[in-house]
C-alpha cells in the first residue's frame, strides 16, 4: 500500500517535470532559453520515472537495478548533446548578437579559426 503510494507519487513527479520541460520548449522565446527545458526534463523527470520503475520491480518481483545504469549514462551523455545544440546556436547567432568575449583577447572555441 505504502509502496504503491510511493510509486504513484514518483510517477506523477516525473510526469510533471517532463511536462514542464515540454512547456518550456514551446513557451520560451529564444533558442538558448529553449535548451533549458529539455535538459530539465532529462534530469528530474526521467530520474523520478526510473526510480518509480526500480521501486515497482522490487515490490512485485526480484527487483531490477538496470534503471540506475540508465540514469548514470543519461546524466553523463545529456550535457554532451546539450552542448552540441548550444554550439549550433552560437553559429546561428554569429554576426547577429554579440556574446560577451572571453578575457585577454581570446575567442570562443566555436568561433576559433584555428
Amino acid at each position: 500500500m505504502i509502496t504503491e503510494a510511493i510509486i504513484a507519487a514518483l510517477l506523477v513527479i516525473g510526469a510533471f517535470f517532463t511536462l514542464v520541460g515540454s512547456i518550456g520548449l514551446i513557451k520560451l522565446d529564444n533558442c538558448m532559453s529553449r535548451l533549458h527545458g529539455p535538459t530539465k526534463a532529462s534530469t528530474l523527470g526521467v530520474g523520478a520515472l526510473l526510480l518509480a520503475s526500480v521501486v515497482y520491480s522490487f515490490n512485485t518481483a526480484d527487483g531490477s537495478v538496470h534503471e540506475i545504469l540508465v540514469m548514470a549514462f543519461l546524466f553523463v551523455t545529456a550535457p554532451i548533446s546539450g552542448n552540441f545544440i548550444a554550439k549550433v546556436n552560437m553559429h546561428s547567432l554569429r554576426g547577429k548578437q554579440a556574446l560577451p568575449p572571453p578575457p585577454d583577447d581570446h575567442v570562443w572555441g566555436t568561433y576559433s579559426e584555428k
Partner: protein, 163 residues
Amino acid sequence: MRARLFPHPLLTVLLAIVWCLLVNEVKLGTVVFGILLGLLIPIVTAAYWPDRPPVGRPIKLLSYLVLVIWDILVANVVVAMIVLFKSNKNMRPQWVVIPLDLRTPEAITMLAGTITLTPGTVSADLSDDGRALLVHALDAEDPDAVRDDIKQRYERRLKEIFE
C-alpha cells in the same frame, strides 16, 4: 609494480559495479567476474589515457556527486516555477563568462557537465585557450552572482578533487 597491475583503481571498482548492475544480480560469481573485468580492462586500455589526472580524494568525489544531485532537485523546482509562472517579458536570459582556475581537461569537463545538469544554466563553449567557460543562464538578475556561485560551489570542490 602496483601501478602496472592496478593502473586505475577507481575504474576497477566502477567496472565491477557496472557489471553487477548489468547482470542485475549480486552473486559471488558475478562479483568475481566483475572484479576480473575491472582488473583486465584498465590494463588493456592503459595506453589510451597517458596523462590521466590522479583522483586524490575519491570520498570527496562521492560527496560532490551527492551535492550535485541535491542541487539538481532544488534547482529543478525553482526553474519549473520560472517556466510556469514568469512571462517571457520579465525573464532575463544572460550570457555569463566564467574564468577558470581549473586546468585539467577532465575537471573542466565535469564542471561543464555539472553546469548543464543543474537547471537554469547551460554551458555553451570554452575559450580557445581553455581558460574561460561560456554559460547561458535562463533567468539571472546579476551575471556576476551566477559566476561567483558556480566558482564557489562547484569549481572549488573540483579543484580539491583533481588538483
